[in-house]
Amino acid sequence: MADVGVVTEQPGPVHSGPEAAEVTRLRRRRVVGIVVLAAAILVAAAVSLAVGARGLSLAEVWHGLFADTGNDPAANEITLIVQTVRVPRTVLAIVAGIALGVAGALIQGHTRNPIADTGLLGINAGASFAVVLAIFLFGFQNPVQYVWFAFLGAAAAGTVVFGLSSLGRGAGNPLTLVLAGQGIAIFLAAMTTAVALADKASLDALRQWNAGSVAGVGWGVIWIAALFVVVGLILTLVNLPSINLLNLGDDVARALGANIALSRTIGMLAITLLAGAATAACGPITFLGLMVAHLARYRTGPDFRWLVPYAGLLGAVILLVCDVIGRLVARPDELQAGIVVALIGAPFFAALVWLGRFKRT
């Protein structure tokens, strides 16, 4: 593992001397990182508002966002593009990026497995299948209706893969967890195909959905997703301190007073809410959580109180950038953000494997 900056802050009073100076320096370094990431989100969001089939200057974007439209038809068109197309997808990219980033860091913390990712462990596939099933069975058109099924599916798949693997003493072979996740994903994909073969209408909805896009999603869905992401983030905040303890091993954590069952349950709930909300709104996006968790760890070290916020912000930046790349590379078509993330994330993952960053047992 990359143990960059392994110095973790000790709870309780910090003694004076060189250690105190070191801790202060580390904290400053981390705060600066957060500020830089927040700024990066703003820049990426601005680019996301400006770039597209119809390129806009930043002045036009500003005008479209805030100015009174008046009767000028050209200005009206820009306002329409900015407010109904660009703003929703930018907001959704930020919300979903934060959700998947935080979920990725959380799931790595709870499984103590550096290969964990909500996509690789089949959680996104669970949400996907539930959504397709809901569309098929109840004829839902509006994501507001099927968002609940996404949670249900995410929770079910997550419980199977993550819950069953942490049976017994938990913390099993990282490879087995990934293989289990892949198996569940293959199973769910086959079931999804069965639905699609039975009903051609679902097939059309399904293929769009499967690509994982932040575009063309209405405000109603974004608000609901954002609401659940906020609840998930609050649970995450509650959960954060105990993840550090859990990573010392269950025995040590118990001895230090952590309630392991409670902490794992809260963590699982948070992961389900975050991954479920993001998947319900955008469709399955794999590798984002894994990528940001590793990038964030590079800067923060293994302290989850810092790693998780970093991962969230980084997730938003990367999803925004991937969405913009998708608009640029396949003109006049678009490459869905989920596809761009996979095309970037998979080689990243392979590079980590090749560099030997994953422990075997």
Binding site: I115, L120, V160, V161, L164, S165, S166, L167, G168, R169, G172, N173, L175, T176, V178, L179, A180, Q182, G183, I184, I186, F187, L188, A189, A190, M191, T193, A194, A196, L197, A198, K200, L203, D204, R207, Q208, N210, A211, T286, F287, D333, L335, Q336, G338, I339, A342, L343, G345, A346, P347, F349, A350, V353, W354, F358, R360, T361
Partner: protein, 359 residues
Amino acid sequence: MIDDLERDTTADVPPGLRVGRLSLVWRPWGVLVSVLLLAATFLLFCLSIGLGDFQIGLPQVISTIFGQGDRLDTFVIMDLRMPRALVGLITGFALGIAGALTQSIARNPLASPDVLGITWGASAVAVFLVTVTGGAASTITNTIGLPAAALIGGLGTGLLVYFLAWRRGIDGFRLILIGVSVSAVMEAITTWLLVTADIRDVARAQVWLVGSLEERSWHEVWIALWCTVALVTVVLAVAFHLKPMHFGDDVASGLGIRLALVRAILLLCAVLLAGVAVSAAGPIPFVALIAPQVAMRLLRSPTPPLLAAGVLGALLLLGADLVARTVLPISLPVGIVTAMIGGPFLVYLLVRANLRRDA
């Protein structure tokens, strides 16, 4: 570490069987189970041929297979039903052996060629040829045909995974993770092809996302048969070196096994067998995962047994196809039935592996 291969097998030493330089351990139980499995497979094969819109009794099927049937039976059986059943038989056999090899090399009971990139590579190429019409795509389809192109796609991806995972030798851990990542890239490409394609082509392409035995011809039977026979011959010739590898790399090289070479040959054979299966029947999930594990339990063998895994794969695929054709209310591709069996089985393996580790 969960490892079904490291089970304690300190039973009293069974008697040996020696023919010239070859020596085998005589395991009556294993032989008995294998014979029963073979008989069951033959029975299911005949049953699968007999059942359908035009029912043919089991005795007639058997006599027709051996050239004693009347003209109608011969037409229905030899021209219509036999290719489908044979493709199922051969593909299942190939998948079972490929799975046993992969699990032995990765030393993990959950490993299967499904994650080595072959499946998604073949799917990506097939979906590309189905959805993109005109230009180079039609030329390829017209000259070598869709199954051959899918085979090349699957094998190309499998080899890519192999070379990317090579770093002073191959190990199972790196191989699988690289396979997962290359599969993800192929899946992303497939998804994009599906999004941009015409909806009618998408429906046709679905068959290449889940395996099916429908509308197979003798042409496919012969290709699959010869490829499988050739590959299995190579596997059996090298397989004697497989057993010591279960004791770990150090012990195996201490016993004089040329690890890198043996592993490379067997893995290549696994990839090729899985590729042959995909090109013949599309990506049929889980057969390669289940067959070796069930065979291991039935034979009470400490390691995935090769031939029994193959026979069990054939049995499983024929059975699944029979269920898909006759029991289910709507006609579904066989791949969906194997997935329905495979999902719960995977959960079972997972639970069991965890509980054992705890014990």
